[in-house]
Symmetry: C2
Subunit: 208 residues, 2 copies
């Protein structure tokens, strides 16, 4: 029962934060939307930030719930599964009239510089997203769909970054074109051979 | 004299908005930082949004001021100039300890869904960025540095989107690696031939 109420608050908060951002979301507004009595917030959460961090976990689970069935669909070759993930979200954002974007990406932009606790949790969540792609790319390698030399970790990270940037462009251009462009470029990177991308990992120490 | 004061307010506002975001920036805070007397804000600006829109123009000019000398440096081949632009910002963000990111990108994330006036102005600013790359890519084509079939408009747009997403990742991972990964992947896309990217423009009408 307690867990039900807590979940209701998190779910309502996630919806509002997705639309308006974290700072712009008031606790009272969340409680109203959840239909939960005033004053019960601090029974469930230590602080607004405690609540916000749990909303990130919720977003993470929501994302995995959407992507996992596609990523694990062994009826399709791995590369096709990656394409299906892109298509799934292209359809989703068309339905949302090119609004909202990725809640994890939004919070990264909003909170990345302002809170270390948020930054670390968001980075872990973005890493989780990349791991799904890495796993699919590793399988695509095994099935000889892509170059054996492709650095799957770096490529997976680039896919997620490029996706987040494309969502940003979608929001201001109110067009699905940036997401389709992302799909086109990423699939191109994966299917064109002879990449220089097979070299070692990018160093964090110098830009040479 | 009047223009000086107005410029001081915009400059101070830009700094604070870059760090904290638009909604989080108070007018009084901006006036204090600019060293301008209380109450003079509405002498120069119709509203906070009027001020915010002028700050976007300021960011746009600042960006062009940074990039133009590199983009127009005819001593370097066009592809090398693109690489130098990436390196310029990699150095810049290393100096900023991986904070701040692109103010236009930040505002796109924050305001894209909330204000049509902001959305349109930000989209125009992002298009301006893409035009710099398109122009360099067109020159690279002329000088036979890149594939004659590359769609320079789409590639330029993808470069800007991917860059914004990489900045987002930089902020939460507090690492320059995402920007280097962007550089590596984009230069790879540009220098590897036989791309499927030479096909027609991405349609906005369907995701087929």
């Amino acid at each position: 029962m307690k867990q039900d109420t807590k979940h209701k608050i998190i779910e309502a908060g996630a919806r509002i934060i997705h639309l308006k951002g974290y700072y712009h979301t008031g606790i009272q507004e969340v409680l109203d939307a959840a239909g939960v009595p005033k004053g019960s917030f601090y029974f469930y959460f230590k602080s607004k930030d405690d609540f916000g961090l749990q909303v990130i976990d919720f977003f993470n689970s929501m994302y995995l719930g959407m992507v996992d069935p596609i990523a694990k669909n062994k009826a399709l070759p791995p590369l096709k599964r990656i394409e299906k993930i892109f298509d799934y979200f292209i359809d989703l954002f068309q339905g949302l009239n090119y609004t909202c974007g990725c809640p994890i990406g939004n919070l990264s932009q909003e909170m990345g510089d302002l809170s270390q606790a948020f930054g670390s949790k968001l980075a872990a969540s973005v890493d989780d997203m990349a791991q799904i792609y890495k796993h699919l790319l590793d399988q695509a390698k095994e099935e000889k769909e892509i170059s054996q030399g492709l650095n799957t970790q770096e490529t997976a990270e680039f896919i997620v970054s490029s996706w987040h940037g494309s969502l940003m462009k979608m929001k201001i251009s109110k067009s699905i074109a940036p997401l389709k462009l992302h799909k086109q470029f990423i699939l191109d990177i994966l299917t064109v051979g002879n990449h220089s991308l097979v070299s070692g990992p990018v160093s964090d120490q110098s830009n040479e």
